[in-house]
Structures are given as structure tokens and as C-alpha cells.
Amino acid sequence: MQDKLVQIEKEFEQDAAQIASVENLEAVRIKYLGRKDGEITRVFKLLPQLAVPEKARFGQKINELKEKISQRIEQKAKELETQRKQALLSGAAAGPDTSLPSIKGRIGAEHPLAIVIEEICGLFVEMGFRVMEGPEIETEYYNFEALNIPLEHPSREAFDTFYLENRCLLRSHTSPVQVRFMENNKPPVQIVVPGRVYRPDATDASHSYMFHQIEGLLIDKGITFAHLKGVLGVFAKKLFGEKTQMRFRPHFFPFTEPSAEVDVTCIICSGKGCSVCKQSGWLEILGSGMVHPNVLKAGGIDSKIYSGFAFGMGIERIAMLKYGIDDIRLFFDNDIRFIRQFS
């Protein structure tokens, strides 16, 4: 029996020295420690043939050997594991190809115009504005007359219009919502209005007969032009960056008095001058002004008590500047390769 055990141990040491892989190790483990037919199990099976004192002595010896082999195997396993890690790290061994493309579902892409509309509305909501919408098919009254644009006046040329029957039309700006809202809400009024507008412009890289605007209106007691500058200043810094400067140029809009066009420092060249800003360093992005008393009147608001400002901007233009898009038609082609660039 003693010889047998010595023999097993010797053989095991020889085998153990040969182990080079996890597979070898497993084979060796099964050869010696396998439950059914391992060397250790086999010698255990010889025990009943021995006399009682021998039984106890060899029983213990076999257990010692089993323990020894187990430890060696465990140690060998650790060695192999360390070797493998080192091999993987040094590049000597290959694991699964982690460079294969990942398995990921797809989250859809938002349309760039939707991104810009949501961002701008969000900025104004932070400042306390509410988001309102209105109809695209409007009446002449809301689109023109209520906004102090007389029917037969050259100022209407800036708002060329698509007509439907019954003197209905496709709104040429989002401003009709100003009067619609004032009619049903008492001041303070503080709204932004995103929406689709239409003008019969022949389509080219910078014109589309359908486009989007965001309109803003704030009316309360004591609202001044200084407040218009304040609110739009905060907006421009939030949208285009902290360093953005603004300048206000007098302009004419029938529905505001005084009126101003608003430029921001060119977001492409930061005001140094480039082809986008035609070397001026400035980009025109907004029309604005103090709401004309006739418009307040149309909305049922007394201009002796209340004053307010309004502003409007074209979303396509801002999106084109923001993303460096050079053709407005891309927004409406809806090539999915285009849409997927912005999310």
C-alpha cells in the first residue's frame, strides 16, 4: 500500500510538471481526483481489504495525499490563470474578438429642426415663458389687420402669402398667435410660439416656401425696450455661448414700435469676420420690438396701462448656422443619413 501511494505521488508529480493548459489540468485532475475512477478513489476502494489498524493509518495517508494533490492542482490552476492573463495582456494569446461590432438597438434620431425648436422653447420656458401654438390656416384679420398691417400697403410685400378660399390664408408668420392669445388671456402675457409658416418664395438653397418660426410675446405693466434687450441677451448667451454679444438695429415692422433687428456675434468666426457673416462679424437672427398699441388694442389690452415686447426668429436659419448646414432643402428632403447626424 505504501508503495502504491508513493508510486501515485511520483506519477502525479511527473504529470503535474507537464501541465500546460486548462485542458491538461482538467485531465490530470480527473485522473487523480475523479470521483468514479480517479487514482485516489481507487486506493480508497482498496482500504476494506486491510486490517483495522492499517485501515486507519492508510486512510489518513490517502487523505493527506488527496489534499496534497488538490492543493497542487489548485496552485497549478492559479499559475495557468496568471500565465493566461499575462499572455492576453501581452497580446501573445487571443481572447474573443472584442473589436467585433457591438450589439446595440437603435434610438431614433430627432429631426434637427425639432432639436432647435425644443432647445429654444426650453430656454424661454426657463425664463418663465409658456409654449403656445396656433392654426396654420389663418384669416386675413389675424395674419395682417390685427397686426397693424393694412390690406393695401407695401409693408405686406414682406409677407407675401398663399391664399385659400374665403379670404383664408396660410399664415406667413407665427405672429397671429399673439393676438389670438391676448384675446383670451389677461396680462401678464408671457408666451413663445413655435410653428410652421408659409411664403410663396421659389425654393433654392436659402429659401423654402414652408419654414418654421418661434415667436415671443411678453406683456405686463412697466415692460420696456431695456427688458427686451435683457431677455434676448440672456437667450443669445444661452443658445450661442456665454461670450455672445448682441446688437440692436432700428428697423420697421408694422406690429412693433420701436422695432429692432437683432444681430449676434458670428457663431462661426466669433466676430472676427468670415464668409458666413460676410466679413462683418455679425449675424442677423431676430426681429423684435415693443408691441404696437394697435396690436395691443386688437388683443383687448389697454396700451396706457400695459406695454410689452415681441420677437420672432426663423428656425431653419438658426439650425443652419448652428450645424453649418448650407442648403435649407436638406431639412425637407429627409434623407435619413442627414437626419441621423444630429442626435
Binding site: I137, H153, R247, F252, R337
Partner: protein, 683 residues
């Protein structure tokens, strides 16, 4: 409009460099687009807003510069000699339509010698973009750019009967204008006529027959005030525009009519050696008192937030040509509006004038103090629209923005034409003549474009409007459109499989679930644009439809040149929002274990899976915690016209752990019911 700096300097003393002047003008509302250096002159290209016809002249812009440089414009003197003859005229003027022509000054200039204009005049006109003609025409152009008043010179000897009649054209009359085009006239058009025929389209363009030429001896010079609307309509009707009607439409200064005539007369004398000794005929129906507006200093700061000293207010308005007096009320001015400022009618207009010249940049920005909100920032519909967009994005759909105007053909091709569509009276082209009554044609166009560009696997959505004409008004409704074509999501592990009906059904179902719409039914429907077999109406509790989904009919797809299957849904946003159940309640989580049992049955082909699911749910009662159809099979071992449906049912009780016996009893009941009621057999 082009303005010459040297010319401007004739009316105002300024020495600043051109670029500084350009900047000042821009920040006063005269946006200088470009400054061109021509010899020693600088020419500004200025965008002039429609409210300021007075800026369409050098004197008008000089006035602006005077205000910006705190000085005054120089007066242009027109000292004519007293006429020799008194009230003896060689011609007569009749105005038949006083509304359309409120003032007409006619003047006879005799013995002119028409030749090329002198160098200085040719130079100025050239710099601002006029082609030189001859002194006869150049002088009126020069005055146009100097004073802003359009004038017309007739060859007097070609006017029949020595008469000028301002009247409406008669039906059937025509005129050949100086551009050589014959124009048919009608009574909506105002003309200048001689005793026999129209000799000019009033305020727009003269006739070729009475045009001043090198041979002209005597000139009848017209300076008039025409009604803006009349001129505008005629210009539109004839499709004819000129520098003249551009100004008349914007309303010329009625008080400037005589002055300009005198100015031109002096030039004819100086340049064309004309005899201007005969008196002018001045018919004026438009005499009016100048407006006076009260301007209170406190209102300036109330509207602008800026404190501008009274002295500066007075200086600015005076330089701009307003009459400024202290009003009775303290802290206010009484301001008289000059006749050339028709755009100024209320106090706010004056405030703009003051702040504009004072400088918008000097108004210090401030944040308003606002009352707290009580109303939500977003309307319910807007909030849910955003939520729906997020669901769609999460489903992997890309968002599109499609045109709402389509051609009649687009609508018909998609079987989406309705009885009363909204259509444009003045479309740009027939491609954009109709407002869509459904999203389908817009989407098919997008899919076609993408497929042509080899973009496959298109899954898109849009929340957009559809339109229809009602009896008197128009209706517009917001719709969610979803379109799927090509393959489902795939990769190197999960291989490509085409989308099918169940994908669009899934998208709709998920949306309804996530919105919290619990009660709805999918009913078979029969839309022309969907395949007869795969066409479903989404019906809300109460029976109202909120949209439909299914497979787009092959014929429709062919019209849009699409050869892959397209699955499409259109759901009414408002109807969805109205059916949302906003309150959700918690249900206690089940404590006891569940046991799964499977059952596979063979049923007739036409048996709807829904029927089997309903039976299981009814018979198992509260014990079936989850019922799942996990396999549908046709083919080998299944009789023809039959199919196998396999269900997995999880039995679970909320009161106790179910015993083997309880589960078996429940499951046998389910099995018996399925076999009996569906005439099914076990597989």
C-alpha cells in the same frame, strides 16, 4: 437704393469718413449693405424699409444724417422769377378722379434744347446707377433722387388739344409705354390722357408717343400726388414697375409736389435753356393741416427704459424736420409732424424716432420682474406630443419634417384625395397646390427618395398636420404618422428579417400602452390605400376611431415607385390625448410562486388567435397571471387549412401557493374549453 455721399454732402455738412457714416446710418435703421468707392465719391447701397418713402431721396437721407450729427439740413432754394403772364395758360388740366389724384402740378417749359446732360449731373446719376438718356429725361431722374418726387416730362407738341386729363382708362384702350410694350388698359387703371388717348399710365410709366426726344421743343412737366392703392393695383395688374410707382405706392409727400416741379424747372432752365416764365397750374385737393402729437418725456422712459434729456429730444426731432414746442403740460412736447412723415401718427412713433437717433445701444439691458406662473408652461396636447416623440425615438424611429403642400397627383396616387380638400388659390406650382388630407403621400415621397439613395430599412415618424375644407372654415388636425419598410433591426448575430404587419401593430400597441390608453379595439377596416387583408382601424372606447394602420396597398406603392412593402400608421393626436387615463394605481406584487404550463392546439386556419386568448383568460379566471402565445406553426404534421397555436400560461394565486392539483384542474378546464369551443385538437 444707391445714395452718393458727395451728393448727400450738398445738403448737410459732414466731414466724417464714409465707413463711419455707413455705420451710423445702419444703426439708425438705414441698413447700408455695401459701400462702393467711385472716384472721389462713396456710394452706399441702402435697404430702405417700406414705411420711409422720404428716405428714397438724397434730401431725405441728408435729414437723417443731420440728426445723427446733431446739425441741420441746408435748405434747397427754388427761387423762380414771377411769371410774366398771369393765369393765361397754353394748356388745361382736368382731374376726373380726385381720390386717385389729389394734386397735379403742370408746367410748360418752352424752347428747350435737349442734348446730353452736363458732366456733373451725368456723374451723379451714373454713380447711383442711372443710365444716361438725355437732359430731358435725366433732369426728372435727378430730381427723383434729390427730392423723392417722381415727375414725368411730356413732349407738349405731341399732346392732342393741349390737354391733360387725369382719368380712369376706358375699356378697350391701350398704350405703348416707353419700354416699347403695348399694354391693354381697363377702368381700374388710372391714366394721364390728352384730348384723345392715354399718354401715360399714371404714376407708373409714360407712353412712347409723347416721350421727350432730342427733337422736343416744348415740355409739359408733370408733378403729382397719386393714391398709393390705385397705383399699386395698376402696377400689379399690368405687371409693370418703375422707380415712380415704387414711391407713389409708399405715398409721396403732397407738399413736395410743387417744390419738386420748381426744382426741375430751374434745372431745365440751367441745363436745357428752357423758358420757364409761364405760370404752373397747381390743382390741389389734398390740402390738410399738419398733425400735432403730444410727446411726454416720461412715456419715453416708460416704453424704452432709457432717460433721454429733454434738450436731446428736442434737438433730434428738430433735425428730423419735426416742429417741437413745449406743451402746456409740464414734461411734454407738442410735436408737429412734417408732411413727408406719413409714417408718424402716434406718440410711440415719435418715441422710436428719438431712441433710434439717440442710439439703441445706449439703452441699458435689464431683466423684467415677472409675476409667478399659475398656468402650466406647456399645454396638455404639447406635453403629450413631446412624450409621443420620445416613445417613437425609443422605438428606433427617425423623425422627419415633411411638406404639408402636395400636388393633386400625389394625393390621388396615395388614394388620399378627399371630397373637400384645402387647396391654394395662388400656388407657386401644381407640385404644391393642395394641403395634404393625410400624411401617407408625404411619407411615401420620403421613402421613395431614401430608397433611390440606397438608404434601406427606413423607420420614420412625424407629428404633422392634415387639412380639410369645412363649409366656411378650414380644419387642421395633428397626426402621428409612422412608416416602416425594409428590415427589422439586425446585426451579425441576429440576422436580417423584413418588417411586417406585426411590427407596425407593435408600435401602435406600445404607444397606446405607454400613453395609458387602456380601452381600445383593433377592428378590421377597408381603406383603399391599405391591403384588404392587413388594414386595421384603431377604435377608442365609445366607438370613435383615432386612426388606422396596416400594409400599404401594392398599387399605391407602385405609384410612388416603391417596390418594398411599407407598413404605415396614422393616429390622431387630439383623439389619443383625450383618451389618456392619467392616474395609474399600484397593484401589490404577487407573493406566491407561479407555475408554467404549455398547451398547443390545432385550429382551423381562419380562427383568430385572439379568440383562443380570450377563452384562456376567461376560463382560467384570476389564476392565469400571464398568457403568452409563443408559437404559430403551419406545415408538416398539421392538416391543410389548419394551424397550430402554442400558449404558455403561468398559473399563480394572490392568496396562496397553488397545489399541483389546483393547477391541473385549472389547466384541464382551459384545455377542454379550447378544444370544444374552437373545435380544436391537441397537437
Amino acid at each position: 437704393m444707391k445714395l452718393s455721399l458727395n451728393w448727400l454732402k450738398e445738403y448737410v455738412d459732414i466731414k466724417s469718413p464714409a465707413n463711419e457714416i455707413a455705420r451710423k446710418l445702419t444703426f439708425a435703421g438705414l441698413e447700408v449693405g455695401a459701400t462702393e468707392k467711385i472716384g472721389k465719391d462713396s456710394v452706399f447701397e441702402i435697404e430702405i424699409t417700406s414705411n420711409r418713402p422720404d428716405w428714397l431721396s438724397h434730401i431725405g437721407v441728408a435729414r437723417e444724417l443731420a440728426a445723427l450729427y446733431a446739425t441741420q439740413v441746408k435748405t434747397v432754394r427754388v427761387d423762380l422769377l414771377k411769371p410774366k403772364t398771369k393765369n393765361i395758360f397754353a394748356f388745361s388740366i382736368e382731374i376726373e378722379d380726385r381720390h386717385a389724384c389729389a394734386r397735379y402740378v403742370g408746367r410748360l417749359i418752352r424752347n428747350v434744347n435737349i442734348k446730353a446732360s452736363p458732366q456733373w449731373m451725368a456723374q451723379r446719376l451714373g454713380n447711383v446707377g442711372f443710365r444716361q438718356v438725355n437732359s430731358g429725361a435725366d433732369i426728372t431722374n435727378y430730381c427723383l433722387y434729390e427730392t423723392g418726387q417722381p415727375m414725368h416730362a411730356f413732349d407738349f407738341d405731341k399732346l392732342e388739344g393741349g390737354k391733360i386729363i387725369v382719368r380712369r382708362a376706358k375699356k378697350g384702350e391701350s398704350i405703348v409705354t416707353i419700354d416699347g410694350v403695348k399694354r391693354e388698359l381697363d377702368p381700374s387703371i388710372l391714366v394721364i390722357a390728352d384730348a384723345k388717348k392715354p399718354v401715360a399710365v399714371a404714376g407708373i410709366m409714360g407712353g412712347i408717343d409723347t416721350e421727350v426726344t432730342q427733337n422736343t421743343k416744348n415740355i409739359l412737366l408733370e408733378s403729382a400726388f397719386f393714391d398709393p392703392v390705385t397705383i399699386r393695383r395698376a402696377s400689379r395688374k399690368l405687371g409693370l414697375s418703375s422707380e415712380s410707382n415704387y414711391r407713389f405706392e409708399r405715398k409721396v409727400d403732397i407738399e413736395n409736389v410743387l417744390f419738386s416741379s420748381q426744382r426741375a424747372a430751374l434745372l431745365y432752365k440751367e441745363i436745357a435753356a428752357g423758358d420757364i416764365s409761364e405760370p404752373a397750374v397747381d390743382i390741389n385737393y389734398g390740402k390738410q393741416r399738419l398733425k400735432t402729437i403730444k410727446l411726454s418725456i416720461s412715456n419715453i422712459s416708460r416704453l424704452t427704459g432709457a432717460d433721454i434729456p429733454a434738450r436731446e429730444i428736442k434737438q433730434i426731432l428738430t433735425a428730423l424736420g419735426f416742429g417741437v414746442k413745449a406743451a402746456k403740460l409740464k414734461g411734454a412736447f407738442s410735436v408737429t409732424v412734417p408732411s413727408f412723415r406719413n409714417d408718424v401718427s402716434i406718440e410711440e412713433d415719435l418715441i422710436e424716432e428719438v431712441v433710434r437717433i439717440w442710439g439703441y445701444h445706449k439703452v441699458e439691458a435689464a431683466m423684467p420682474v415677472l409675476s409667478a406662473h399659475v398656468e402650466p408652461a406647456y399645454t396638455k396636447q404639447y406635453t403629450y406630443k413631446q412624450r409621443i416623440r420620445q416613445f417613437m425615438l425609443a422605438l428606433g424611429l427617425d423623425e422627419v419634417f415633411t411638406y404639408s403642400l402636395l400636388s393633386k397627383k400625389n394625393l390621388e396616387d396615395a388614394a388620399s384625395m378627399i371630397d373637400s380638400p384645402a387647396h391654394l388659390i395662388n400656388p407657386l406650382s401644381c407640385e404644391q397646390e393642395y394641403m395634404r388630407a393625410a400624411l401617407l403621400p408625404s411619407f411615401l415621397k420620403i421613402i421613395n427618395l431614401n430608397l433611390n439613395r440606397k438608404n434601406k430599412d427606413i423607420k420614420i415618424f412625424e407629428i404633422g398636420k392634415v387639412y380639410a375644407k369645412q363649409t366656411k372654415v378650414y380644419d387642421e388636425r395633428e397626426m402621428l404618422g409612422i412608416a416602416l419598410t425594409g428590415n427589422r433591426f439586425h446585426n451579425w448575430q441576429d440576422h436580417a428579417r423584413a418588417v411586417d404587419f406585426y411590427d407596425i401593430k407593435g408600435a401602435v400597441e406600445l404607444l397606446l400602452e405607454r400613453l395609458g390608453i387602456e380601452k381600445y379595439e383593433f377592428k378590421h377596416s377597408g381603406y383603399d390605400f391599405l391591403s384588404a387583408a392587413e388594414s386595421v382601424e384603431v377604435v377608442m372606447a365609445g366607438g370613435a376611431s383615432c386612426g388606422w394602420f396596416g400594409r400599404v396597398d401594392k398599387k399605391i406603392l407602385k405609384n410612388f415607385d416603391i417596390s418594398t412593402d411599407v407598413y404605415f400608421a396614422q393616429l390622431d393626436i387630439k383623439a389619443l390625448v383625450e383618451n389618456i387615463k392619467e392616474v395609474r394605481k399600484f397593484t401589490t406584487l404577487a407573493k406566491y410562486p407561479s407555475s408554467p404550463r404549455d398547451i398547443a392546439i390545432v385550429v382551423k386556419e381562419e380562427t383568430a388567435a385572439e379568440e383562443a386568448l380570450a377563452i384562456i383568460s376567461e376560463v382560467a379566471g384570476g389564476l392565469a397571471a400571464k398568457i403568452e402565445l409563443f408559437d404559430v406553426y403551419k406545415g408538416n404534421q398539421i392538416p391543410a387549412d389548419h394551424k397550430s397555436l402554442a400558449f404558455s400560461i403561468e398559473y399563480q394565486s394572490r392568496e396562496s401557493t397553488l397545489t399541483e392539483e389546483q393547477i391541473n384542474t385549472a389547466h384541464s378546464a382551459v384545455q377542454d374549453a379550447l378544444l370544444q369551443r374552437l373545435e380544436a385538437s391537441l397537437r
